[in-house]
């Protein structure tokens, strides 16, 4: 078991997948010889040849269109979108095609073997076009699965599960953790089930929920709250679609309070779906309103990045508000 960072874990998962599945093909802008602008695909072209790991022309709609066709043919495409901010030119191919391929053909044709990898999120001085967290858009698209790992261990296990899952999966990588997050990652092949949240820390007073890089943030806030004697339960949602409402509801029925933290703008962020569902399912258990600590309803700023972020201080304050409601 070696200590790997998140990029290395992803690279290892890709090597595992491509070794095991001859039909696995990796492509996207700069992913070939160069190994991707973040180097997640390093050495794949060398190892597996140019036919199975290659650069595409600079067209996200083309990348996903091509991937849809390749998937429907029977290959296992693993397409990279260089930044989550640049996934929007491919929105039609993902929303109208990838997600509806199986349904419209009555299951005759599918893009189930497709995995789309993309780095997302802020905290890297990227400003409005290198920081977005677009998961909520995709959470409104039946037919897709959406997955977000929080560390290298999760990244490898979830990515392997995503690649092998018989549904198209959007795999969103928290890029500010690419090199910052390091942990033990087993050399061997393993998967982590999609659609299952993880209770990262048990607690009694309030449930804190996040995914990706923000799990770290709610942990820090929980530590601050602990000093006040508040016991927080921490859940990493891991899958955005379909999401594990049951684990969340069980936790909320125990703690009576829920705080959701995400980077994306609050309005119609995925926190709204969680809040809407949980208030219905746990109505009689809630001792305070469900609170969302999220990005502002603005594009992602540069100069005011620190102020924009739903950080541990904002989260801690919200925990206090919930407790004192």
């Amino acid at each position: 078991m070696a200590k790997l960072n998140l990029l290395q874990a992803i690279n290892q998962a890709l090597i595992t997948a491509m070794t095991e599945d001859e039909k696995a093909v990796v492509f996207g802008e700069d992913v070939g010889y160069f190994g991707g602008v973040f180097r997640a695909t390093s050495n794949l072209q060398e190892k597996f040849g140019k036919a199975r790991c290659f650069n595409t022309p600079l067209t996200e709609q083309g990348i996903i269109g091509f991937a849809n066709g390749l998937a429907s043919q029977g290959s296992t495409p693993i397409a990279e979108i260089q930044f989550g901010d640049y996934i929007f030119p491919a929105f039609d191919q993902i929303v109208n095609e990838t997600a509806k391929f199986r349904y419209r053909s009555g299951g005759q044709f599918t893009c189930g073997s497709l995995t789309i990898r993309t780095p997302y999120g802020g905290g890297i001085s990227g400003g409005l076009y290198h920081s977005q967290s677009p998961e909520a858009f995709f959470s409104h698209v039946p037919g897709l699965k959406v997955v977000v790992p929080r560390d290298p261990y999760q990244a490898k296990g979830l990515l392997l599960a995503a690649i092998r899952d018989d549904n198209p999966v959007l795999f969103m990588e928290p890029k500010r953790l690419y090199r910052a997050s390091v942990c033990d990652v087993p050399e061997e092949d393993y998967t982590i089930p999609l659609g299952k949240a993880e209770v990262v820390q048990e607690g009694n007073d309030i449930t804190l929920l996040a995914w990706g890089a923000q799990v770290e943030t709610i942990k820090k806030a929980a530590d601050m709250a602990l000093e006040d004697g508040v016991s927080c339960e921490i859940i990493d949602l891991r899958s955005i679609l379909p999401w594990d409402a049951q684990t969340v509801a069980e936790s909320v029925m125990k703690t009576g309070r829920l705080l959701i933290n995400h980077e994306a703008p609050i309005t119609s962020g995925f926190g709204s779906e969680i809040a809407a569902r949980i208030q219905e399912q746990c109505f009689l258990y809630l001792e305070a309103p469900i609170i969302r600590v999220c990005g502002l309803d603005t594009p992602y700023p540069l100069a005011h990045e620190k102020e924009y972020m739903p950080d541990e201080f904002k989260t801690y304050e919200a925990i206090k508000r919930a407790l004192n409601y």
């Binding site: 849809n68 998937a71 509806k100 299951g107 005759q108 037919g143």
Partner: protein
Amino acid sequence: MNDRNHLDHVALTHEVKIIENGLLEITMLAILDPDGNIYPGATAPDIDKALAEKIYHTMVYTRLLDERMVAAQRQGRISFYLASTGEEAAAVASAAALSENDMIMSQYREQGALAFRGYTTDQFMNQMFSNRLDPNKGRQMPIHYGDKALNFMTISSPLGTQIPQAAGYAYGQKLAGKDAVTICYFGEGAASEGDFHAGVNMAAVLNCPVIFFCRNNGYAISTPAAEQFAGDGIASRGIGYGVRTIRVDGNDPLAVYSATKQARAMALETNQPVLIEAMTYRLAAHSTSDDPSGYRSKNEEDKWRLKDPLTRFKQWLLSKAWLDEAATEQFMQQTRSDILAALKTSEQVAVNPLADIVEDVYAEVPWHLKEQRDALIAHVKKYPSKYPKTSGDL
């Protein structure tokens, strides 16, 4: 073809000369003239009597099906239809030049290609009546056919999306070592979509054995080609992508067949795309929701009626003494009554049971869709008369 890049191949000039229109003069392959004679100097492709008959019968079949279904829509029996009248040669003769292993990814006006592959009248009807016998399970509007067994990809409404998909499909065929290509049909209107650009360029760069087959029928709904592009049709774009290209008379089955045959051989041999632009004309309305008299003249239509691919091909068959007129008459009558009979049967077949509503969204029905399905079933049981199509089954 991708040996050209950046600067190595470029010759110098020292005079400021902006290239104007006219650099390209893309001619159009024509073998059969509008009267059904082989043009002087032209060579008919190597087609035997059986194949010629099959092409002709499929074109006739398609025309009859279109006529009947347009009428059925007017009678309110189906909600929507889209005819290919006048454009049958483009779809049928190109499909005839393919192998059955080749994947067809069509737009929506290529029912002739599907008929050529052997899609039955019942299959057409089951799709159009959205009934439970259709393998597409009645989820899409009429004419969105698809049949995996016939290597015919289920049609999707958003225009142009199948173009990059075809590149990817063909890449997969190549990787898998299949002795097959993909043909991708689209209209000259759809070729304005960004997906066209992405798909053709990717196919060229990534060496995909795909035939891009553009039906340039002069209109995208009401928009004439002159308001769609300013260049020399779609063919001139192929050159820009470094893609082998040919323009054909789309109303000439022999030209379409010859071009597609050669394009297929080239695509397979070189693992590279070929672009075919078939010049034709949509004699039909865009769809049953459209009335072309709002945007074009009868006169223009009449001019094109003279170029009808069916008459033209019939003349040629007659000249070869390959056509038994009585048998054809009989074929047409039989077809008409088969279509009517199938229509009557299919419209009686029920839609899929209610539980199907959540199927095929995912490979397996996830928890939240089970929840939604169960609630819906309970609801429909409570209000059976409000949901007559499905409540009977419960």
